[in-house]
Amino acid sequence: MIEGTAPRMGERSQLLAAALTPRRIGQLGIVLGALAAWIAFPPVEARTVVWPIVVAVPALACGGFAISRGERRVGWGAIASGVIGGLLAYLATLSGTTHLESVFVWSALVATSFRYATPLVFAAMGGMFSERSGVVNIALEGMMLAGAFFGILGADKTGSWILGLVIAALAGGLFALVHAFFAIHLRADQIVGGTAINFLALGLTGYLFIQTYGDNGTPSSISAIPNIKLPGLQHVYFVGSAFGNLNLMIWLSFAVLILSYVLMFRTPAGLRIRSVGEHPRAADTVGISVYRVRYGAVVLSGMLAALGGAYLSIGFVHSFNQNMTEGRGFIALAALIFGRWRPFGAFGAALLFGFSSALAQRLQDYSQSAGTLFNALPYVLTLIAVAGVIGRSIPPAAIGRPYKKQ
């Protein structure tokens, strides 16, 4: 019997070898690393570090194998995943189960992650349009802030959150138009211009906020963007509390993601944007108006970033403070770079950063300092990403370079 099956075993192992490319093994390593962390957290909660190590070591081995076969990026990813997963698991075994269970309520964490990620998703999608068209947009922060203020101002004065959103988008678009005019027509340095827009937005929103609302702050009875209650889901385990009561803007952000992807990669308009960002001279030669495409992309980016800001003020916090975005525009920029200027990449990065914010917020409950430090994570990850340790982020070719018609 054994002899009879031997040739088949050979065939199978060949099939297996064909399926188990070094790349797949590397990916398996990444999954194992995540698994190592997962088993130390609720609901599994391995209380000794042995089990995570048992899982993390093969992750490292997979990584080493993948690297030795030339799959460096995936391989290093697996090694990083194994190390980080093991460390997280070790940290988890150090803290008490009650703490773990109070922090890691997964369904609540998922819902909170979406709340924190949504402004980032809007702004990152906006940033993608601008940067893919070749215009650096470090003014996302300012445009987001403008959206946050004018969104709440609009919702307050008109009594309707829909008009609030419209006014926010217009305000963001206006700031973006200024950025676009200086970057495209005046060929000013785009980073200097973006910095200026950030200052201007900070000053103008702060000024108008104090002028309009003074020390009392925004009134509490402002028309807010509603949550979407999904009646069928309410009592379903996990899904109910994670997705059953999310804000309308969170669902819209999913739509924006898909629309952005389709627009960017499945329509002629997207092709134009990308060609203008990679090689404007060639695009010009085939009859694409570089200026018009760039204006459109930058203004769209401002409107999207402003919608993200408006969600922050009238969908999430329900009030406005001076400089309330607190660097979220820069996190969105980081998400865009971390996600390699791609819609789903940027979305994934925004979710990851949103998750880290959510975790930071929950960690505050039992260790304030740990929660604070967690906020630096998006920036550290992005720094590592631009440094190219685990696969480099390479920007569009013509980014930051003004184009001059001939």
Binding site: T195, N198, F199, L208
Partner: protein
């Protein structure tokens, strides 16, 4: 219209001049007049906003000017002692802004945009406050020197990360310095916040997120005014010294020559045998040194203790961008830019502005003016068009006719 551009050699993408080339042209374009006009327009537009929101711009600016204490320079006007007190405040801020301005300017000369002055400033502050609050047994001058040198080195290292990444893997310095800013901000909040490893050891601060206080001997001596009322400390001379160092380094040393050469055209510099990577790394490190120094003199000169709330509020590093741009990256220009923004910053502060105009509005007005200055200076083409249009109309056409 086209002729208003720089006479740059046409590259594969047409004639797109580098940042440094544009700045060099801008430098020649209009002496001191263009920054003056830029600032004037910015103040004018700020005034329009003030007027549009129902305040009197003239009295507002007058009150802000009074808060700066600059009238002290004109003998026999108003309340001398009050003006002196205000001017000391202005010069304290000017000191820090000169240094953070130099941090931006030096990198600019190498064709790098150091937007991370704020983070480098914070890192300098952290090191200064830690060194200044420990080793109480050290002699005063040695303690001060140690704190300043270590803070400057910390700033250099922080900026050096961005320089290293630029030099080795070509990571854009704007992205990496933005990330480093935020890492410095959150790192500082963690270090000095409640439960953080460097949280104040004093029991009275148990519930305040602050650092330990600088020991008395490590404080910078005050040479003008009352130390209790925040007189002007000797950090002012450190800033002046740095202006000289900046000028000499750039204009009288090989390093400065190389930095400027790389700033003008990295390719040509490389062809000429200059190590572009080394220049990037050194330019960022030197920039960071200036910003780290700024953090040190602020900490040892008047803050004496770091509160995490100030980490959120401080914008000294960011204003440095406007200072350097307004000063066109020259030593004297940076100082003058620092005086302008130092005055504006002080004149609109809650402490100094006594007026019917709310200081909270005024501090936002400062931001608006700052934004407008940066915006207009960034758009050098406007300026170039005004100043060089006529000359440049003929220049680039001649070689074309010859060919």
């Amino acid at each position: 219209m086209e002729a208003a551009k720089a006479p740059a050699p046409p590259g594969p993408e047409g004639s797109i001049p580098s940042v440094a080339r544009r700045l060099a042209l801008y430098q020649r374009a209009g002496g001191i007049v263009t920054p003056l006009i830029t600032a004037l327009i910015a103040f004018l537009m700020g005034g329009i906003i003030v007027a549009a929101t129902g305040h009197n711009p003239l009295t507002t600016y007058r009150d802000i000017f009074r808060g700066t204490g600059l009238q002290w320079l004109i003998p026999g006007v108003g309340n001398r002692s009050e003006a002196a007190l205000n001017l000391q405040q202005t010069l304290i801020i000017t000191t820090a802004l000169t240094l953070t301005g130099l941090a931006v300017a030096f990198a600019f000369r190498c064709g790098l945009f150091n937007i991370g002055g704020q983070g480098q400033y914070f890192v300098g502050q952290y090191v200064a406050v830690v060194v200044g609050s420990s080793w109480a047994g050290l002699a005063g001058p040695a303690h001060i020197l140690l704190a300043i040198v270590l803070a400057a080195l910390a700033g250099a290292a922080w900026a050096g990360i961005a320089g290293f990444l630029k030099a080795t893997v070509g990571a854009h310095e704007v992205i990496s310095t933005i990330m480093l800013n935020w890492i410095a901000i959150w790192g500082g909040k963690w270090l000095f916040g409640l439960g953080g490893p460097l949280h104040s050891s004093s029991s009275s601060d148990a519930f305040n997120p602050v650092s330990s206080a600088i020991v008395e001997k490590a404080k910078l001596p005050v040479f003008w005014g009352d130390p209790v009322l925040q007189g002007l400390h000797i950090g002012f001379f450190i800033a002046i010294g740095c202006l000289v160092v900046y000028w000499v380094t750039l204009n009288r040393t090989t390093l400065g020559y190389e930095v400027r050469a790389v700033g003008f055209n990295p390719e040509a510099a490389r062809y000429g045998g200059i190590s572009v990577r080394r220049s990037y790394l050194l330019a960022m490190a030197i920039s960071g040194t200036f910003a780290g120094l700024a953090g040190a003199v602020d900490m040892l000169g008047w803050e004496f203790q770091l509160a995490t709330a100030t980490i959120d509020a401080s914008t000294i590093g960011f204003i440095g961008i406007a200072v350097a741009l307004l000063g066109r990256n020259t030593a004297i220009g940076t100082f003058l830019g620092a005086v302008v923004f130092g005055a504006l910053y002080t004149g609109t502060s809650t402490r100094n502005l006594t007026s019917s105009f709310d200081p909270k509005l005024a501090s936002n007005l400062t931001l608006i003016i700052q934004g407008l200055v940066v915006l207009f200076i960034g758009a050098d083409l406007l300026v170039l068009y005004v100043w060089q249009a006529r000359k440049k109309l003929r220049l680039p056409q001649r070689p074309r006719q010859a060919a």
